[in-house]
Amino acid sequence: MSEAAFLLSTTVNGEPVTVAAPHHWTLLEVLRYKLDLIGSKQGCDKGDCGACTVQLDGEPVLACLTLAAHAQGREVTTVEGLGHCHGGCHPLQDAFDRWTAAQCGFCTPGILMSAEALIRKRGRAVEHTEVAEALAGNLCRCTGYTKILDAVVDASQQMHPAPGKE
């Protein structure tokens, strides 16, 4: 192995992964071009669009501005791992389907990762305003944000039903 590469040991979607990566590669490049996890999108590639949002130890971060070295020993969750604990399909993904919130779909993986963190941290059904704030770093160029907000609110209600409502 040349000096320009290092061994990255990390956990991706619950699976331990060890992969050789050049020092100057971002986490996004390792996910997409070494691990074939192409769900996280390479949009602006400089922190404007949020299409590359993944979770690092449960926090939404931009994989395009995260050095691969910064993922050493940490837990990376991408959209591919979102449904693992839910039999393959997360309630958010189900809601995006029912509300036709994916539209062209390019921004969807990033939005799902930001939205999942919001619902998990709140631990309750969320409201439109907090969803809008949590998704403020995820651009949708189809600009159909209404359906996206509706879908996230709906998913959070499915995950945290109000007492007495089944």
Binding site: F6, G47, S114
Partner: protein, 333 residues
């Protein structure tokens, strides 16, 4: 797709290790990476080594130190952690505001306060791809050229300090701790910046900011931060104003005993608005206060064409946003 130039990454786990690693030729510091990596992707620099503070857990956290009379914020603390911290929200609401309005939630999860205080200056002619810069004739003083596109025939770089937290922490009279090869030293933040966009801080070579100390309030006060940007998130501010008014009692009808007003995004150094003596002795909710302060800010702040939007319009927006900021403070009670 924007490729990073090749470099090595080292991640020491002590401040001493970081300082030692920074002595290597061509070494640069990386914390959250949200400022340096876009700049490197634009090939504005080609460092041989990036020294990461990723493993430097000692630099994270917020501690209220009543003996020293300061709130200590570790330089590696993320902007999200600062914005959400109860002590910051209670003692320094304008800091919670400014830390909570930087860029976007995911960038605030990554970006640190140390990185934000050492944010590189920005200019519409600099923060572009190498191809773009080549198309205007090969860059400028701050990139690979030798001219200034903002001030024709200018020899001094006028790139803007666009940090949201710097004007606020200057208005709060914060002090930063710098660790370097010669040991540690403290610098009042107001003295840390100078008006040269290519070298806008007084950081010595190989130094790292380790801590921000914000003096605890000794009197009642009202603080606020206002910024104008194109969209409500992601964008850098086009003008920004940090406001702080010390009061003789905890009420908006109380008399103003001191005023600290700092405007950002003008040049490489935020501008402290002076000549505010006329408001001392007035009640904060006296409409004359908003008028006098916003007029002083308008007179003393002259934006340059270093970030988007017309300079004349941005200058008027300084007046508008200063007035609105004071009105918001008064209306909040």
């Amino acid at each position: 797709m924007l490729r990073l130039p090749p470099f090595r990454v080292v991640s020491p786990d002590t401040v001493e290790g970081v300082v030692a690693a920074l002595q290597q030729p061509g070494a640069r510091l990386i914390a959250g990476g949200t400022d340096i990596l876009p700049n490197l992707k634009h090939w504005l620099d080609r460092p041989e080594v990036l020294v990461s503070i990723n493993r430097l857990t000692a630099l994270r956290g917020i501690v209220r130190d009543d003996n020293a009379g300061v709130l200590r914020i570790g330089a590696g603390t993320t902007l999200t952690q600062i914005a959400e911290h109860p002590d910051v929200q209670q003692l320094f609401p304008s800091l919670a505001q400014s830390a909570g309005c930087v860029a976007s939630p995911s960038i605030r999860n990554m970006g640190t306060i140390g990185g934000n205080l050492n944010l590189d200056t920005r200019c519409r002619y600099v923060n572009q791809t190498e191809f773009w810069r080549g198309a205007i004739g090969g860059g400028c003083i701050k990139s690979e050229g030798n001219v200034c596109h903002v001030v024709p025939k200018g020899r001094n770089c006028v790139a803007a300090m666009s940090s949201d937290n710097v004007p606020v922490l200057m208005s709060l009279q914060a002090v930063i701790v710098q660790a370097g090869p010669e040991g540690t030293r403290t610098v009042p933040l107001c003295d840390y910046y100078h008006a040269d966009g290519t070298r806008h801080t007084h950081a010595k070579p190989g130094e790292i900011t380790t801590e921000v100390q914000v003096p605890l309030p000794t009197s009642a006060r009202r603080t606020h931060y206002v910024k104008w940007c194109v969209r409500k998130s992601i964008d850098f501010p086009l003008v920004s104003v940090a406001l702080r008014f010390d009061l003789d009692k905890d009420d908006v009808s109380a008399t103003i005993s001191a005023a600290h007003v700092v405007a950002g995004v003008l040049g490489a150094r935020p501008r402290q608005v002076r000549k505010l003596d006329a408001i001392l002795g007035l009640a904060l909710n006296d409409p004359k206060v908003a008028q006098i302060v916003s007029e002083a800010a308008f007179k003393q702040c002259k934006p340059l064409a270093n970030v988007p939007y017309e300079t004349a319009y941005r200058r008027r927006m300084i007046r508008v946003y200063t007035r609105r900021g004071i009105e918001a403070m008064v209306n909040a009670g």
